[in-house]
Amino acid sequence: MGERVDVRKTYKLFIGGAWPRSESGRSYEVMSADGKFIANAARASRKDLRDAVAAARKAWPKWAGLTAYNRGQILYRVGEVMESRRAELIHEVERAEQDQGRHRPDPAESQVDEAIDTWVWYAGLTDKLAYMAGGLNPVAGPYFNISVPEPTGVAGIVCPERPSLGGSCARLAAALCGGNAVVAVASEKHPLPAITMSECFATSDLPPGVANILTGHKEELVPVLAAHGDVDAIDVTGVASKDLETVEAAAAANVKRIVRAGAAGQTRPDRRTQPARSPYEATAFMEIKTVWHPKGA
């Protein structure tokens, strides 16, 4: 009897809580860091992206309408589910990023642990953002005046190439925390950990459509995301420096908010280190609403 023949996972897109193949029927080869074939990943088209944005927009009101406590519990559960799949995620990350040669990446274990802890960290932030970013304003008149942070809406996220899991976790958690819905373009070279992460979303009470993940060629997808009229913010953390100007210019078509990891006063994180965790990462995806009301008997 020979060795058992394994059943290999098909990596598809994650849209509206399901895993469709690209409507274009295309895929591309995903190689490990030391050049071996791992799997084919779906190569998303502009139509897939359009569908993902529609799914996010549809799911957004419900997500934004949950209490902050509720959102916190759901994000915590994402952490719980990822923890229970820790070994699998370590394997994915190792396979993707382990290279024998030039760089010395963080060990896969610490990347996965940090990624899980990121979900836990942002889970505990949801019902504290209002305190941190909002508050009562002592205006000079008999008026009650309050500022509250609210989610921007649908956030497009271009995930950093590396860390392949930690990077996408940090950006997605920051956007979801404040009540946004997300369409993320995963790391192009190392897309598989993000798809496995999406399986954790689907089993964690995150409503379908709140988070959507596309794999494929950034040069094909990012311009469409940047110009899409129904996307409210774009996170350019994973956009190559040479492309930033074009992307930001396209985003101006509907006055998108440009968001970038570490933009709130911290230095731009090194690609090989973990992106920053901070309330400012979450508030970058939020708007401030100020309400007035007179005070009088």
Binding site: Q73, Y76, V120, G124, K128, Y131
Partner: protein, 480 residues
């Protein structure tokens, strides 16, 4: 005319297993009290004995504080994110064991199962979840300050919301990096003791939480212990003042959450049916055993008759009886002692000339019960208008103008909460500005949330629980 009697719908007690005897929970272990003294704890609805609980003496208190001090070294040094994780674990297990906790809370305290199940337990779990999220974010809670734990906190809690008060005390203390010695109330120790088993389940480092049961003497010994950094007390104003005297001149940080005599103010333009619900909830929720209870109804004279008509009718639909019955609205009074206090104040109300109304109500033969009661024709100088009754008794006074309502509402040494019922937004805000109370509820009442600071003005105490404000009393804030 048809009648529809709801059949008994008792919640099963099978889910709970109560030990015959409980030791003290010190240093992560169950230990016998030094005196070998135990005291029986009962179900106030049936007077049935539930268990024997340790009476902690001075030596036990000494051990507990020592245990907390030892554990403080480790607990304050572990990564804040890890402290957070223990608290998250606790919150999640409390949700898993929610039914068990709710049933035990009702059995030991007398409150309706619907309240323990729908209010007390979910809120208690939420407090742990909320403060878990702060543990590793303290640098964002106090701009410009470095936040460090105080050390060992002694916490004494009352019998009206035993598990919830435990959560209000322990969650922020632990999130801030302190260790604690908690004394539950004499008549309601069981949910705290069950909660200690949750600490074991989540493998909380030993000594971080210590639970010493006992009565007034145990509490007095605890708060006077020389090696404390913090004392937190919720209970009567009288005992609060004693504690404040006892720690005077020491370096102990103190917070007090004491009594109240809140005014629930209804204007003529209020949404009347919802105001009635708010008044009923304000004074009859938890049988009126609530420090922030709306025990004085201040109703604008122009709408008084109409409101009182609706209120009296509504009293007729309140169901008093077996707290374990899912349809019960009014449960048992927590103890004979409390029942006697209520009766004595109610008698004073009658003697002083107020008009008493009670909907006809059958009181069970065993246990401690008092029917929902409304006094009209009350004036400010009546004892039932000035003293905290802590029972299902409402005193009704009238007013004519907003300023008069303010004056009457504030005319008390207490200042814990107030209610305002009006559809006019600007008036809500104007009233809120002028009410000397730590919590103002507008068009609602008895709403609590871990994110929302709660605490009193004046003799209702000082310090806040809930919100980031609730953290500051467990922290030393220094220059960064």
């Amino acid at each position: 005319m048809p009648t529809w009697d709801y059949a008994p719908a008792p919640e099963s007690t099978d889910i709970v297993s109560i030990r015959d005897t409980y030791g003290l929970f010190i240093g992560g272990e169950w230990v016998e009290p030094t005196s070998k003294h135990y005291s029986k704890t009962i179900n106030p609805a049936t007077e049935e004995v539930l268990a024997a609980v340790s009476v902690a003496g001075e030596q036990d208190v000494e051990r507990a504080v020592e245990g907390a001090r030892k554990a403080f070294g480790t607990w304050s040094a572990i990564r804040p994110a890890d402290r957070a994780k223990y608290l998250f674990r606790i919150a999640r297990v409390m949700q898993e064991r929610a039914r068990e906790l709710a049933v035990l809370e009702t059995m030991n305290g007398g409150k309706p199962i619907r309240e323990s199940r729908d209010v007390d337990v979910p809120l208690a779990a939420a407090h742990f979840f909320y403060y878990a999220g702060w543990a590793d974010k303290l640098e964002y809670a106090f701009p410009g300050r470095r936040a460090e734990p105080l050390g060992v906190a002694a916490q004494v809690i009352p019998w009206n919301f035993p598990l919830l008060m435990l959560a209000w005390k322990i969650a922020p203390a632990l999130a801030a990096g302190n260790t604690v010695v908690l004394k539950p109330a004499e008549t309601t120790p069981l949910t705290a003791l069950m909660w200690a088993t949750i600490c074991e389940e989540v493998e909380l480092p030993p000594g971080v939480v210590n639970i010493v049961t006992g009565a007034g003497a145990t509490g007095a010994a605890l708060v006077r212990h020389p090696d404390l950094d913090k004392v937190a007390f919720t209970g009567s104003t009288e005992v609060g003042k004693e504690i404040q005297r006892a720690i005077a001149g020491t370096k102990v940080h103190l917070t007090l959450e004491l009594g109240g005599k809140a005014a629930n103010i209804v204007f003529e333009d209020a949404a009347l049916d919802q105001a009635v619900e708010g008044v009923v909830n304000g004074i009859f929720f938890n049988q009126g055993h609530v420090c922030c209870a709306g025990s004085r109804l201040l109703v604008q004279e122009s709408v008084a008759e109409r409101l009182l008509g609706k209120l009296k009718r509504r009293l007729g639909t309140l169901r008093l009886g077996d707290p374990l019955d899912k349809n019960t609205d009014i449960g048992a009074i927590n103890s004979r002692a409390q029942l006697d206090k209520i009766k004595s104040l109610v008698d004073s109300g009658v003697d002083e000339g107020a008009d008493m109304y009670q909907a006809p109500c059958e009181l069970p033969a065993q246990g401690f019960w008092f029917p929902p009661t409304v006094f009209t024709g009350v004036s400010q100088s009546h004892r039932i208008a000035t003293e905290e009754i802590f029972g299902p008794v409402l005193s009704v006074l009238t007013f004519r103008t907003p300023q008069e309502a303010i004056d009457k509402a504030n005319n008390t040494p207490y200042g814990l909460s107030a209610g305002v019922w009006t559809e006019k937004g600007s008036r809500i805000l104007w009233m809120a500005d002028r009410l000397r109370a730590g919590v103002v509820w507008a068009n609602t009442f008895n709403r609590f949330d871990p994110a929302s600071a709660f605490g009193g003005y004046k003799e209702s105490g000082f310090g806040r629980e809930g919100g980031p404000q609730g953290l500051s009393s467990y922290l030393r804030l220094t220059e960064p």
